[in-house]
Symmetry: C2
């Protein structure tokens, strides 16, 4: 299992619209093979900052299964215009 | 419930020692009132980078309950010398 981590900076004033559209977008990511679960959380210290955590079965579930899917096209349409700057997405593995 | 997020950059070559000492240090954080669970994960894209996620009952469990405890003194002794630069720790709340 791997964890996708994205720190999201949302355009100021668009936070409520982003949160609302994220709820719609969640259906697209959660329909992908290898998706396990996700959580979106809002930073208490920095305005308009969020963290998206997604657990995937493996790296390819995200980088190929999701990013090359029809669902990702819908996800992008709903969400990508809220980000400034565009986020860096990283992946993390368990420490044994 | 709130999520503590710390992105950790470990001094190169010290990753194994850090992971080993983190296992010892985990007992200190997990003994604090309001601690729920934690996970330490290693970045797949960036060398020597980790993410520490800790769920707390509320903000004060971390900022007062842990940081003003005897256990935090032991935690610091074990771990703080591995970080370069010293991490910024942030807290995140659920998005409803």
């Amino acid at each position: 299992m791997i964890l996708e981590v994205a720190i999201l900076h949302i355009i100021k004033g668009e936070e409520q619209n982003f949160e609302s559209d994220f709820k719609i977008a969640a259906q697209y990511i959660s329909s992908i093979d290898g998706y396990i679960n996700h959580s979106l959380k809002k930073c208490m210290e920095v305005e308009s900052k969020y963290i998206l955590l997604v657990n995937w079965l493996n790296l390819e579930s995200h980088t190929i299964g999701f990013r090359q899917s029809e669902q990702y096209i819908e996800w992008k349409k709903l969400l990508h215009h809220y980000y400034s700057p565009f986020p860096i997405v990283e992946h993390y593995t368990m420490v044994n």
